[in-house]
């Protein structure tokens, strides 16, 4: 009987822990791709595209994710209700070989880094903000590259590639980035 009572007591304690755990305190953690989606939205505010980047004055602002998409629904959720440069936003998944020229942002997930040289060939000198998350990405492929500093997301910006693409990057963004000359 005593054992039953003790065992029951422990279940009660377990249940109490369960209940207590629903109480909340402050602090903020986030998944990597929710944060990266947030950064992409900021990039649209701190980068200026030349007018030739758009096929017409009322064309949508197009974001492409290359190959398998690590964002899930998060890009759509983040950009929902936002216009970029006064334009509606279209988010597309693009495959290898697809036409990339009408994109304003192309995101290249780490798993797709093997296609880097193909992508560089197609986007070189065009006003496309190519964003990656792989080592050495900024050396020859894209303008912006995410990396992790412990548990914080950081990014590097390639000035030469931005210039080649005619993209103007605000000092506010340059101030928090690692600059690759």
């Amino acid at each position: 009987m005593e054992r039953v009572a003790r065992s029951a007591g422990r279940w009660v304690l377990g249940a109490a822990l369960f209940v207590v755990s629903s109480v909340s305190w402050g602090g903020l953690q986030i998944s990597e791709y929710a944060a990266k989606a947030g950064f992409l939205l900021k990039f649209t505010q701190y980068v200026e595209w030349p007018s030739e980047a758009f096929s017409s004055s009322d064309a949508a602002f197009q974001i492409g994710v290359f190959g398998s998409d690590p964002f899930g629904q998060r890009l759509e959720d983040t950009f929902q209700g936002h216009r970029v440069k006064g334009r509606p936003v279209v988010i597309r998944r693009v495959k290898n070989g697809a036409d990339l020229t009408d994109l304003q942002i192309l995101y290249v997930p780490a798993a797709q880094a093997g296609y880097a040289s193909d992508i560089a060939r197609q986007t070189k000198g065009r006003p496309i903000l190519v964003v990656g998350e792989s080592p050495n990405f900024c050396k020859s492929v894209g303008v912006i590259n995410f990396f992790l500093d412990g548990t914080y997301i950081r990014f590097e910006i390639s000035s030469p590639l931005a210039r080649q693409g005619n993209l103007v990057i605000s000092t506010k963004l340059l101030n928090v980035a690692r600059i690759i000359q």
């Binding site: 003790r6 065992s7 007591g9 422990r10 279940w11 304690l13 377990g14 822990l17 369960f18 207590v20 755990s21 629903s22 109480v23 909340s24 305190w25 402050g26 602090g27 903020l28 953690q29 986030i30 998944s31 990597e32 791709y33 929710a34 944060a35 989606a37 947030g38 950064f39 939205l41 900021k42 701190y46 690590p70 899930g72 629904q73 998060r74 959720d77 983040t78 950009f79 929902q80 936002h82 780490a110 798993a111 797709q112 880094a113 093997g114 296609y115 040289s117 792989s134 080592p135 050495n136 992790l148 500093d149 412990g150 548990t151 914080y152 997301i153 950081r154 506010k172 963004l173 928090v176």
Partner: protein, 661 residues
């Protein structure tokens, strides 16, 4: 490593579970706010958990830290579907799906992809494997057969312990602590970069564990001292691929109180002593991602073990080479294939009660696997795999599997599989003499003596599994698996006719021969639940239930019970845990774990609570205190059949300091 590419990983669920700021909040944040967000990385595993057709789980180093766990087997307690029982200060039983025993022999356990079980009894000596807990990056577990990809012995499941890569950003670390049963423990980790493309990590750790209590004494003679050193160098670029060399050396000295059979009344004698173990492992690997997305992995490893204990002294040297290629895409087919070879040489010097025949042996294995993942529709995949393995004792063994997975929407996945896996005979099963025990009959001693048999064959399982993973609410997830395992030719103990041995003091000898005359069917349910009720709290629960049915061949003379050896009667039918964690403000983390271990035939059920509190000051110093088995002064967790005298697991209060620089 293929395992990384092919198993899927609960880390994603956890990471999703930890997502506290939604996309909406993110959209309204300033750049500065975004820069200060702490992210939970889900991308370590190349595939999300939603896309694997097997029962998988990953425990991360963050989980291990939160729980305050200080030994590897204690970490395994936090994985749904894994049952762990500690039988003395240095010995554990670890198993899955109803086979939990000191001599559990159907589990494949690996460190960084290199298997660590000993072919002596196809099990793991956990005392030598409790690596520095700080060196563990994550523990990946697959329940159920993995024979189609991994080698023989991946029958009930696979545990792969992945150690940390050098991380120059993370800096160095010194840890020191003690507990009511550990006189002192410590670790030091130094890591850094060597130029632009290389990094190193050096670590040493050690502990001085006191003996555990029994009904008779506060500290049995099972105290345990050990240390470990490891060094790792990683280098490479995307062009050359990444190279790594990893050395680990461990040494421990453990006490093993035992009872050995004798032919004089009371027919056993107390024995014991402290025994030294040495273990060295060297792993070299090369990984490359090719331009077309395919991967190449090459690994060479060797280890040397020198393990003494009361009844034998095992020296073993193993060398293994593997080459694997993955993600070879052809239309909607995606292939992986690999080739491996292993040779293991040993000398096992016996004693009066354990003798090996032959004393020295060398066994080699050659294997080949191929797997095709075929996307038959946008949301449906079929995964067909086959592993062929040749060993010196039973020749060619085949291990096929067929898996199906459907992900109709992002939040839900269904999968099912049929697979066959093989357990090859151990050294002890093929040739050994073991004195099991002595009883009395008509005034004469009766010695029960086990004999290995060169005719011993492989055991097989055909496993049928089905699973479901689903988002229940935006902040809670469920993972459920049912299985039916059909084991054939498991180890039976065939009792022979008693013989009178006309010694000076005559006695009866009952020979018992290992054979494959037992079939077991097990079925069960495994459930894992994750929830993130708020930004700073989390809840995790795991539960497993199983049942077993036995059947012996008509000519079997097995006289053993359902609860001896590695038989399911030795395992709890029901076990589970409930783990809650919360962040109290910015610096404090509090975790409470309630664990329940259902009864096995000799083991009464118990429930217990562990509590851990850690405080992190800025980035340098952290303080952790906690209690294990807070409400249980001491309790038994399991028993062994052979020689070893078990002790009880005590309530333990612990504390440690971590300094990072």
């Amino acid at each position: 490593m293929m395992s990384l590419a092919l198993i899927a990983v609960g880390a994603v669920v956890l990471a999703q579970g930890q997502e506290q700021a939604g996309p909406k909040n993110v959209a309204n944040m300033s750049l500065e706010e975004l820069m200060t967000l702490e992210v939970v990385t889900a991308t370590k595993s190349p595939r999300s958990m939603w896309s694997t057709a097997s029962a998988t789980f990953v425990l991360t180093s963050d989980d291990i830290a939160r729980a305050g766990v200080r030994s590897l087997p204690d970490a395994l307690r936090l994985i749904p579907g894994v049952t762990v029982a500690q039988t003395s200060a240095s010995q554990w039983m670890v198993g899955m799906r109803g086979f939990t025993s000191r001599y559990a022999n159907k589990l494949l356990v690996m460190v960084d992809g290199a298997s660590i079980y000993t072919p002596f009894f196809s099990g793991v000596d956990w005392d030598i494997q409790t690596l520095g807990i700080r060196d563990i990056d994550r523990i990946e577990v697959i329940r159920g057969p993995g024979g189609a990809l991994w080698g023989a012995n991946a029958v009930d499941g696979i545990i792969n312990i992945i150690t940390k890569k050098p991380d120059p950003e993370a800096g160095n670390e010194i840890v020191g602590g003690a507990s009511s049963y550990v006189a002192g423990s410590g670790a030091a980790i130094v890591q850094g970069a060597l130029g632009a493309n290389a990094a190193y990590r050096l670590s040493v750790s050690g502990r001085d564990q006191r003996g555990f209590p029994t009904d008779a004494v506060d500290h049995a003679a099972d105290s345990w001292k050990g240390w470990q050193a490891s060094g790792r160098l990683d280098w490479g670029t995307p062009e050359t691929g990444s190279f790594g060399i990893n050395y680990r050396g461990a040494s421990s000295d453990f006490g093993m109180p035992s009872r050995l059979p004798t032919l004089e009344a009371p027919y056993y004698e107390e024995a014991g002593g402290h025994f030294a173990n040495r273990h060295h492992t060297l792993i070299g690997k090369w990984d490359k991602q090719n331009a077309n997305g395919s991967t190449t992995h090459f690994q060479l490893y060797g280890f040397h073990t020198d393990r003494k204990q009361l009844t034998f002294h095992e020296e073993r040297t193993t060398v293994e080479a593997n080459v694997e290629m993955g993600n070879l895409a052809f239309g909607s087919h995606n292939f992986a294939l690999g080739l491996g070879a292993r040779t293991s040489r040993d000398t096992i010097a016996g004693s009066d009660n354990v003798m090996l025949d032959p004393e020295s042996d060398r066994k080699s294995i050659l294997n080949f696997f191929i797997q095709d993942e075929y996307a038959s529709a946008k949301d449906t995949k079929w995964i067909v795999g086959l592993k062929l393995e040749r060993n010196d004792d039973t020749g060619w063994e085949y291990q096929p599997s067929l898996r199906w997975i459907r992900t109709p929407r992002r939040e839900a996945t269904y999968w099912a599989s049929v697979s066959r896996a093989v357990r090859t005979p151990s050294r002890a099963e093929l040739g050994s003499t073991i004195n099991l025990g002595v009883t009395e009959m008509g005034g004469f001693p009766v010695l029960q003596q086990i004999h290995g048999s060169p005719d011993f064959q492989s055991s097989t399982v055909v496993a049928y599994e089905a699973g479901l993973r689903s988002e229940l609410t935006p902040t809670s997830w469920l993972d459920a698996v049912v299985y039916y395992n059909d084991y054939r030719g498991l180890r039976s103990f065939e009792q022979g006719e008693p013989m009178l041995v006309p010694d000076l003091n005559p006695y009866f000898l009952v020979p018992i021969t290992f054979a494959n005359k037992m079939d077991v069917r097990t079925y069960g349910l495994e459930v894992a639940f994750f929830s993130q009720p708020s930004a700073t709290s989390r809840l995790r629960a795991g539960m497993s239930w199983n049942n077993a049915e036995f059947r012996w061949d008509a000519d079997s003379a097995d006289g053993m019970e359902h609860d001896v050896d590695d038989r399911p009667g030795n395992s709890p039918r029901l076990s589970g845990f409930l783990w809650t964690g919360f962040d109290l403000g910015k610096y404090l983390k509090l975790d409470g774990i309630f664990r329940h271990y259902g009864g096995a035939s000799k083991q009464s059920p118990y429930s217990t609570v562990d509590v851990n509190l850690s405080w992190q000051s800025g980035s340098n110093l952290s303080v952790t205190i906690g209690a294990q088995n807070l409400f249980l002064p001491r309790h038994s967790e399991g028993f062994t059949d052979l020689f070893e005298v078990t002790s009880q697991v005590p309530r333990t209060f612990y504390g440690f300091l971590t300094w990072r620089f």
